[in-house]
Subunit: 304 residues, 2 copies
Amino acid sequence: MLDVCLLGTSGMMPLPNRWLTSCMLKYNGSSLLIDCGEGTQIAIKEADRHFKSIDIICITHFHADHISGLPGLLLAIANSNRVEPLIMIGPKGLTKVVQSLCIIAPELPFPIQCIEINKKDEYFEINGYHIHAFKVDHKVLCYGYAIEIKRQGRFDIDKAKTNNVPLSLWNKLQHGETIVENNMTYTPDMVLGNPRKGLKMTYCTDSRPVRCIVDAAKDSDLFICEGMYGDEDKKEKAIQKKHMMFSEAATLAKKANVKELWLTHYSPSLINAQQYLLNTQKIFNQTYLGEDGKYIDLMFEDEE
Amino acid sequence: MLDVCLLGTSGMMPLPNRWLTSCMLKYNGSSLLIDCGEGTQIAIKEADRHFKSIDIICITHFHADHISGLPGLLLAIANSNRVEPLIMIGPKGLTKVVQSLCIIAPELPFPIQCIEINKKDEYFEINGYHIHAFKVDHKVLCYGYAIEIKRQGRFDIDKAKTNNVPLSLWNKLQHGETIVENNMTYTPDMVLGNPRKGLKMTYCTDSRPVRCIVDAAKDSDLFICEGMYGDEDKKEKAIQKKHMMFSEAATLAKKANVKELWLTHYSPSLINAQQYLLNTQKIFNQTYLGEDGKYIDLMFEDEE
């Protein structure tokens, strides 16, 4: 199960009753946070999530509304008695930005390992999260993140027997270990069926709607995407500021064949997102408005 | 009239429904902000104050809960179309801290002038605010601020005549100008009576209760002071962390002969401040609990 919580939905600046856009995932006891604007630590508390399990923080870009809450969050994590290292992933320059912001959080009890993304596409595997960072099209260097939880095949007793795997090794192989015994190498695939469908969520903000987003988000169970404006009269502004319309996010969602789309990163000028929803759903039916604290438990296909 | 608004009352970290401690003053169209933790820009909006008139930001010290909201606030001020310079006052090191935090707000449309306090006591006069920065006793270098609005004497026609001030100069002198005419220098005091009582508010957080706070806060109309803990069982913790008890703040208020005391900078562990109020009022009767957005219009004695 993958728990996904959209902590906030505001773009540009936090508002009373609208936290800045960020998203927190939890899988197998390990949490991953994407972006951390001013107030995100409060949003985490309001959403009843916890600081200590945050192992990974992915940053899309260095505009203040996506990272200004970092020092406060790191101190909140420190206050949760975390001492384990924390991994940060973000665009080139991440190390310097983190160091600069941490001038007011100089004595953290845990080390931070910064991983700077250097290519258009990069892939990481941490704590079961398969993270694909993909470069999008914003005013500054900016990445989206597609995050997958893979799922191995079922244990296949016939395959194990056919491959002459000793009974004593079945359990370990099933749990992913590779074992060498009597000069034979036994690998998990020798006792497992074909990999089963895993879980995938894709997060993209801020960007114009470019093709690589469709590719990265392909077949996601959940696609969280910026919808800066609903009103089509603001399209010129969206193009100029390198943001996205509701309709453009929906078009991406349709092309990427995702299960559902949550809109977020609303402009402060967007008071009533609801009024644009019907038209957006005409483009992609499974469009939903993101709300602060909205969450979903993504389940493996036969998991209940 | 001096408008004083306590924007938040939390210490250490912002909480759902409790903004970090900071305070905004407005006098004669010019606003002065003391401290700026994470979320202060939202607190300013909630308190229905405005960004554009913020001419001065005083910082008590560089712990994150007192300055982490700075980049977001500066961007909000930028967004209000301000182009006029903004003055920041704070402990030694201010320039570096501001520069570091502004790595995520690199292109502000207004210049920032940083004034670093170098002595135990320093005095500034900006836009009618007479600011006394006084060093207090915290874990890091920290200052309190006593802020006065002075008030000149009434126009005194007899004095003007006695001093042989030409009638044509009376108005200018009354409004503070010094004029040289016919080799004679005319100063405002030649047409004005004794200065009248002005307005004074003093702000102190974070500190142990030391004598210099009493001296600085002397006869204030309003004393806003940290009360980290109400429960006397936490006194050891207060001493160790260099914070102040409700009772200690009240004792300072009494000694300083202030008109009223507002407590603030509550520990996140302090859920019900009310339960400690009665005992605190036994020490200083005019003690009030600070609340987010609590404000007062301090009036000159005969002003209505």
